[in-house]
Every structure is written in structure tokens, then in C-alpha cells.
Amino acid sequence: MNLDLLFDPLFRVPFFTGLLLAALLPILGLYLRLRGEWLAALGYAHIAGAGGVLAPLVGVPIIAGALGGGALVALAKGLLRRKGNDTYALFILIGWSVMLLGAAYSHHAQLIGQALIDGQLYFIGSQHLLTALVLGGLVVFGLPFLSRLLLREHLFPWHDRANGRPVRLQSVAFDLLAAVTIGLAATAMGVMAAFAVLFVPAWIAFALAPGWRWALLLAATMSIVAYLLGFVAAVLFDLPFGPALVAVLVLFTPLRLLVRPPAGRV
């Protein structure tokens, strides 16, 4: 075990990129769970994976292929007015088949496909960090506005539409933000790790948090703690980062059992 590795300058960009994504993803995960679309993470992550594998085949940077693929299907979903997990199940199937077929077609694509499965955070560069910073800015400044509308549209459907507010545009804007962030996370930490960070903290916070603000805080905190533990474990024990992070998050899942059953109704 070499503790000096943790402070190696080579790991700084990957560390801060992952940290940013670990803070952003569970917040998006809460809104996706609210809409009953928790499968979005896996759907967009697979599409991003497919985009990443296809990118070098058509001469496009991997990150652009991954993010572009996610953005395209998010737009298509918005235009077709599709809601619910069914669409994301289709995204998983499309992404998975394209990813593996692409990997079979070229050795380079095969390596990218493997990286998307392993989640080798340490190999990402400043391009990922800059994109994560831009997405972080969008979430910090845009989500407070979007949050109110997303919650209201879910709990009081048609209220905003009856008052002429562009509900559909806001919904597509959120889908795009989610698709691009998940795409970035899938290429940085792997498809399954991106899914776990989006799904597990939001799932636990939904059961435990006393209110919506607490849910945001709890989900982000859990995710960051899990990320730090996963990062340290992966570096110190020379493990692939993605599975290490997923394993830590799985250890958090018994927290859901702390919730009181609904029998204690007021």
C-alpha cells in the first residue's frame, strides 16, 4: 500500500473531475426518481458508451461522441414526448448492442468499450474536468429554477401549462442536462459506476430525508463520501475505480432499512 500515490499530481484532474460528478449525479438522480425515470442513468450511460465507441470510427473525439449521443436521444425523447422507464430500457438495448458491435469492428473501439465497463477514472484529462465544471455551473445556476417547475409539473400537472409556461421546453432542457452529465460520467468512471452514483444515493435519500432540501443534501453527501472511499480504495489497493465505487455504494444500501414503515402515519 503506497499512501503517496493518493497525492500524486497525476491523479489531481481525475480526482476533481470525479468529485464534481459525484456531487452532480445524485442531484439529477433525485429528479429522475421523482419522474419515475431512475432507469435513465443506465439508458443514457449505454448510449454514451455507444457514442464513445462509434466516435473514433467516424473521426470524432470520444467525449464528443459520448455526449453527443446522449444529447441526441434526449432530444428525440423530448420531441416524441416519451415518458417513463420504457424509453430508457430501449436506450439500454440500443446502446449495448451498438457498443459491442462497434467494439467487434475495431480494436481501438474494443479498448474504449472495455474502459467504459472498467471505469478507469485515472486516465481522463482536463477536457473532462472542464466539461464537468461547465455542467456544475449549469446545475448550480439552472436547477433552482428548473427544480420548482419539475416538482410542480409532477405534483400539479397542467397547472403551469394552463398558465402558458414552456413546460415541455423545461423538460427537454432537464433531459439534455441529465443526458450530457451521465454521458460524461460514463466515459469518466464507467457505465455501471455512473448508474450507481445516480441511482443509489437518490434511492436512499427518498426513503430517509425529512424534506426535499434534506434529500438534495443527503444524496450529494452520501455520494461524495462513497466517492472518496472508492477513490482511496482503488488507488491504495490497485483496483479498477468503477467497481470499487459501486462496491462502496452497495455497502450504503442498508441505510434504506432505517426508514420507519408507513404504519406510523400521523
Binding site: 410542480r152 424534506g211 400521523v266
Partner: protein
Amino acid sequence: MLSAKPGPSENDLVLLKVEGLVAGYAEPVVGPFSFTVGENEIVGLAGPNGSGKSTLLRALVGAARRFRGSIERAASLQLAYQSQHGNRPEELPLKARELVRLMDGDAAALPPRLQALSDVRLDRLSGGQRQLFYVWAALSNPAPLVLLDEPTNNLDPKGVALLEQRLLDLEPGRAAVVVSHESEFYGEYVAE
């Protein structure tokens, strides 16, 4: 259709004018229907289940299709709409007071019965308590016209009384359209 108490004066503005409205989804379900709603008026739409009352309300907000007739709203009129079949998630970490604030209402102005429950998560309230908060949140919205679809669903007599009083205390200039299959609900405050 039942019209209102305390009743509009001649100087009150017409907020909503519906003429010959036929509404539905793939096919017409209800109509033709004509009525107006003025300031300080509460209009009740009564009828048995399946008679198309909710469809009529949904047509007013654009959620159902208008086949014939017209719907005229006062210029820049804002609505508050509480639908009968809104999403009521099994699990949701949202305090009751957060629901009221979501509709731009003042959670501090809740009556004592609701104030006592305002820090409880919605999914940990009983069906009636939850319904009362949804209706209250819609009424707390500052929009001049409030549309309520079956607001008395799951409410106990005390809840119904609280809702009736809230409708009677509606701020000056505001109006409501209330859909209910319980015609006795209208007896307390709406004149036929």
C-alpha cells in the same frame, strides 16, 4: 351547474366565459356547456361519476380536447389547477409545507390543523390529510381563478368544513370553479 354565493356584483370582471363547449379526448365526452365565472364567484359543477365534469375542467386548462365552442379568459388571467388524478407518489421526501410553497403559497398562513402537520412528509400523511394539503396549496396560489377537481375526495367532515370555510374566505377579486360528485358539498356555500 350551480352558481355562486356570495355572488358577484355588476362591477365584477368576467374572468372566464365558456360558450357551447364540447370537450373530450378521442371523441366528445361532455357538452355543449356554457357558463361564466366572475370575480368573487364560486361556480360548482355537480353530477354523477363519469358525467364528464373533470373532462370539462381539463378542457379549461388544455389537458382535454375542445371539439366545439369557445373558452375566453380575461386578459393575462392566471389559473391555479388541482387535478383529481395528479401524481401522488408512494414515496416522496417532500414536506407538506414545501408543497404549499411550491404553489407560491404562504406556509405560515396555514390553519392550525394543517400547521401542525406541515413539517411531515406528504407520503407519511393519511390520504385525507394529503388531499387537504393539495387543495390548500392550489387555493394558496395567488392566481385569481382556482379550478378544483373533486376537492372533497377522502376528506373527513372536519376537512370538508375547513375547505368550505377557505372557499368562503377566498380573497376579494378571486373566484373558483369546483367540480364534485357530492352535491351536498355545494349546499353550504353555493346557491343553485
